[in-house]
Every structure is written in structure tokens, then in C-alpha cells.
């Protein structure tokens, strides 16, 4: 509870982690607010169905609040004039201000009287898109900070955020956001593509960093490294060099 998990990918696509956490928290009975900026609703729905969860049903019973970034963006730009009382969460496209997005998250996860879900969860895919859409890095960090205070501290919920990073990246703004978030996360799951290139049996390497140093002063972070292979309905992890193809 109250955990901030950072999903990070380098040279590969870490979205399988997003799909995992989405179905994991929904199956656990948590109320989930999913800010999906990069793909359409049906994309996540199809994968979630393979993992045994129906997003449409979860949305209907009020367990899932889904912000489909691509669709909201089109509504904002091509739709009718918006009502003054209800600013679009993607208002920052014109105003560069992420407050409306934060309000959306806060309102979605604040429990109402009738609901009895276990713990709120904010899931965000992915933060790097906010920079591409014109938000300043400091604004993005402020937004995450506000979300942490609201979701992790006040509502005792969890936050899971996906960011992209590259080695020798020239995108300084992105590196700034990623590094700052790494320092503040309780758990970092870092999916990296293999340095040697594409391999059929090993899709990548996962570094799991538990930030024990945040809890106690003299503690060191616990780092575990595994390699993984993504299959149709699950992901298999194994120690480095010991994939099933080799043994």
C-alpha cells in the first residue's frame, strides 16, 4: 500500500508490464484509474481478455476508470465547444497545464459512499508521451508529486507508471524525468533489450530494484536480474543464461 512502482524500458517494449499490472489489480478487486495515452481501449481490452479480465465489464461496474488519451485528444480538438464546468483532462495540449489531468485522477480515485473496492490504483501508460505533447518536465514531475500525495499518502493507494529511456539518449527532458522518478520510486522494474540484439528465446532482461535505501538509512537497494521470454498469456522468468532453449 502506498507504493510507487516505476516501470522502465530501454531498447525494448515494456508494455507487457502494464498489461500485467492492469489485470493484476483488477483481479485483486482494486479500483483502478488507467490513464492510457499511447494505445486505444480495444488494444488493452484484447490483451486483458487473454489474461482473463474483461475491461469493458470492469468499466461498467465502476471498478475501472479508463482515460483513452487518443480518443480524448480527438474529442478536444475536433469536438464541440467544451462545457465550462468540465475541462477536458487533456487540456494541457493547449494550456500546458497538467492540473486538469490531476483533477481527473483525484476525482476518479476518491471513493464514493457506495463503493467498497480494495485500495485505489493509478496506472499510467506512458509518461514520456506527456513530454511529446508539450508538457514541461517540471510540470510532469509536479503532476506525479501531486498524484503521490493524493493517491499514495491520502488514499493509501498505489501508483504504477511506465517511462521509456534510452542509453546515450539526447532527450534531456526525458532523462531528467526518468532519473528523478527513479530516485523517488519504491520499486523499479526495468526491462531492457539484450545488448547483443534480438533473440527468439530470450526477449530481454528484467532488473528488479527494491529501494530499501528509502526506508532505512544504511540499507542498500536490493537488485535482482532475470531474463524473460514473453508468451501468449504469460511471461517466463529465468536466471541469466539459463533459458529453456539453452538447457
Amino acid at each position: 500500500q502506498g507504493q510507487f512502482t516505476l516501470l522502465r524500458d530501454t531498447r525494448t517494449d515494456g508494455s507487457f508490464l502494464v498489461h500485467h499490472f492492469l489485470s493484476f489489480y483488477l483481479r485483486a478487486g482494486c479500483k483502478v484509474c488507467f490513464v492510457a495515452l499511447l494505445q486505444s481501449f480495444s488494444h488493452y481490452n484484447i490483451v486483458a481478455q487473454k489474461l482473463g479480465v474483461s475491461l469493458a465489464a470492469a468499466k461498467e461496474r465502476g471498478q475501472l476508470v479508463f482515460l483513452e488519451g487518443l480518443k480524448s485528444c480527438l474529442d478536444l480538438l475536433f469536438g464541440e465547444e467544451e462545457q465550462p464546468g468540465q475541462p477536458s483532462p487533456l487540456q494541457f495540449l493547449s494550456t500546458r497545464d497538467l492540473r486538469a489531468l490531476f483533477e481527473f485522477v483525484r476525482v476518479s480515485l476518491t471513493p464514493t459512499e457506495q463503493e467498497a473496492w480494495r485500495g485505489p490504483v493509478l496506472l499510467l501508460d506512458d509518461l514520456s508521451v506527456l513530454l511529446s505533447l508539450g508538457a514541461a518536465p517540471v510540470a510532469v514531475l509536479d503532476f506525479i508529486h501531486y498524484c503521490r500525495v493524493s493517491v499514495c499518502c491520502q488514499l493509501k493507494g498505489n501508483i504504477v507508471v511506465l517511462v521509456h529511456s534510452n542509453e546515450d539518449s539526447e532527450d534531456e527532458e526525458n532523462e531528467l524525468v526518468v532519473n528523478s522518478l527513479c530516485h523517488h520510486s519504491d520499486l523499479i522494474l526495468w526491462a531492457e533489450g539484450l545488448a547483443t540484439g534480438f533473440c527468439k528465446d530470450v526477449h530481454g532482461q528484467m532488473k528488479i530494484i527494491k529501494r530499501l535505501s528509502l526506508q532505512q538509512a544504511a540499507e542498500q537497494d536490493l537488485v535482482q536480474i532475470y531474463q524473460y521470454k514473453i508468451q501468449d498469456r504469460n511471461v517466463t522468468f529465468f536466471a541469466r543464461g539459463l533459458s529453456a532453449a539453452v538447457l
Partner: protein
């Protein structure tokens, strides 16, 4: 969304662009061609001619002949039950093949070009932007293009908004040399462009439009001119596929014996 990084002189990316459009015509898709450099009418005149095999040509001929002979309806005596079935079936062979071959040395015939519906967007012929688009905070050329694409998608029913439309077709969108100076964006001229987010915002909105409709898009960009690598990284994350074309013309690789059978490299 296929994002193509142009090669230095634009020869091969232009070719890829034309293949995409030509394939659309041969498959009967609708086209939308946008450019700030060449008028779309001229682009469409220069498409390569498809190589149709003899079997296909013969079937077309057969169908034409059958149509003419429809007047001679012989009534069937023994197999009278089959009388009411349609005279000929739709030719299935065109759909089982994936893709077609083209002959670059020949141009596509105007009749074939006219056989599909197409829309064009030539930046310099378009009207200046409307006031509502000021809130978009984006380069006006890009904003006009997005508006035009959105209008075609909703008018022609590619987003499923028109339930009356019986046959659903695919819209193939081709955008040439996006990001070049001709579009009014200085991302290719300077390291710190005036509005570094216009291109990425454009791609995001385009991605939304593509996901919501039956369409596919190819964009070519003079990536070798874009000096701000951060923008290229972001653009890569927003596309579904990125193809980089590196031609050997004018570089020392042209004369390198290792590469003598090839004209360039294709990065995917």
C-alpha cells in the same frame, strides 16, 4: 503508422511512398495524398504500373465476355435447379495474393488511377487556418492537414460513423516530406526549433485518427536534416514502425566493394 526516414536525396523514400499509393490503387483502397513539395496530382501521375499476371488479365477478359453473353440465357433442362444461381463468381485470385509487383519503368495508366477515389492536400493551395485551431498550439500547416484528414474520415465513413455504408473500404494516407521547411516548421533548420512539440503533437493526433478509423498511413520525413535528436526519439516512440533509408549515393560507401551489389541500407 509507418514512419520513414528519408534518404539524403529522397530518391528511395519517394519510391517507397509511390509503391504504397500504387498498392492502394490496385487493392481498390481510397487514397489521401498530402504534400507541401509536389502537387499531389503530379505524384499520382508518376506511380509505377502494376505487373498483372496473365491469369488475372485473362479473367478480366473472361468476365467482360460473360457479361456480353448474358442475353443468351439458355435454359437448363436437366440441372434446372441451378438456373437461378449467379452466372459467374467473383474472381477470388486477386485476394489470395498478398501484395503486387510493380514495374518502375512504366507509369500506371490513368484509367487505373481514376478507378479509385482519391483526395489531395497541397499545402500551398489550402485556405489559411481557422480561428478555432489557435487553441491547438500547433504549426498551422500541420493543423490544417489534420483537419482535412479528419474531415475525409468522417465524411467518407471510414470511422464507421455511417451505418448505411455497405462496403467498408480502407483509406491509405501518404504524407510526403513532413517536417521540412515547406510545411512552415523549422525543426529541420535549427537545433532549438521555435515549437519543438508541433511535430510530435501532430503525430499523436494522427495516431488517434488512425486508431479510430480503417486507415493506414505512411509518412516520409527528411530525418537527416533534423538536428534535434530528442525529437527523433520521441517520434519513434509514437509510431508503429519506423523505417530508415540510407542510400549510398554520394557517400564513400558507393565505391566500397563490399556494398557493390546494393544501393543502400534499410533500417527497420
Amino acid at each position: 503508422l509507418v514512419f520513414t526516414e528519408e534518404d539524403k536525396y529522397g530518391l528511395y523514400s519517394n519510391l517507397l511512398f509511390k509503391y504504397f499509393l500504387a498498392e492502394g490503387i490496385v487493392c481498390g483502397h481510397e487514397l489521401f495524398v498530402a504534400s507541401a513539395k509536389e502537387h499531389p496530382d503530379n505524384i499520382l501521375k508518376e506511380l509505377p504500373a502494376p505487373l498483372l499476371d496473365d491469369a488475372h488479365g485473362k479473367e478480366l477478359g473472361d468476365e467482360a465476355a460473360a457479361l456480353k453473353s448474358e442475353d443468351f440465357q439458355d435454359s437448363m433442362k436437366i440441372a434446372w435447379r441451378y438456373q437461378n444461381l449467379p452466372k459467374m463468381e467473383a474472381s477470388p485470385t486477386t485476394y489470395t495474393k498478398f501484395g503486387h509487383y510493380y514495374d518502375i519503368s512504366k507509369k500506371m495508366s490513368p484509367e487505373l488511377c481514376q478507378s479509385v477515389k482519391w483526395h489531395s492536400f497541397y499545402l500551398h493551395e489550402e485556405l489559411p487556418f481557422e480561428p478555432k485551431m489557435k487553441t491547438w498550439n500547433m504549426n498551422s500547416g500541420y493543423a490544417r492537414l489534420l483537419q482535412s484528414i479528419q474531415r475525409i474520415i468522417s465524411q467518407e465513413g471510414f470511422d464507421g460513423s455511417d451505418p448505411q455504408k455497405k462496403q467498408r473500404n480502407v483509406l491509405r494516407i501518404g504524407i510526403q516530406s513532413l517536417g521540412s521547411v515547406l510545411w512552415g516548421d523549422d525543426v529541420c533548420c535549427s537545433d532549438a526549433p521555435e515549437d519543438p512539440h508541433s511535430l510530435t503533437k501532430f503525430l499523436y493526433v494522427l495516431r488517434g485518427l488512425l486508431r479510430k478509423s480503417l486507415s493506414a498511413c505512411i509518412i516520409t520525413v527528411p530525418a537527416h536534416l533534423i538536428q534535434n535528436k530528442a525529437i527523433m526519439e520521441r517520434v519513434t516512440n509514437l509510431s508503429d514502425s519506423v523505417v530508415g533509408l540510407e542510400s549510398f549515393i554520394g557517400s564513400e560507401r558507393e565505391t566500397n566493394p563490399l556494398y557493390k551489389d546494393y544501393h543502400g541500407k534499410f533500417h527497420l
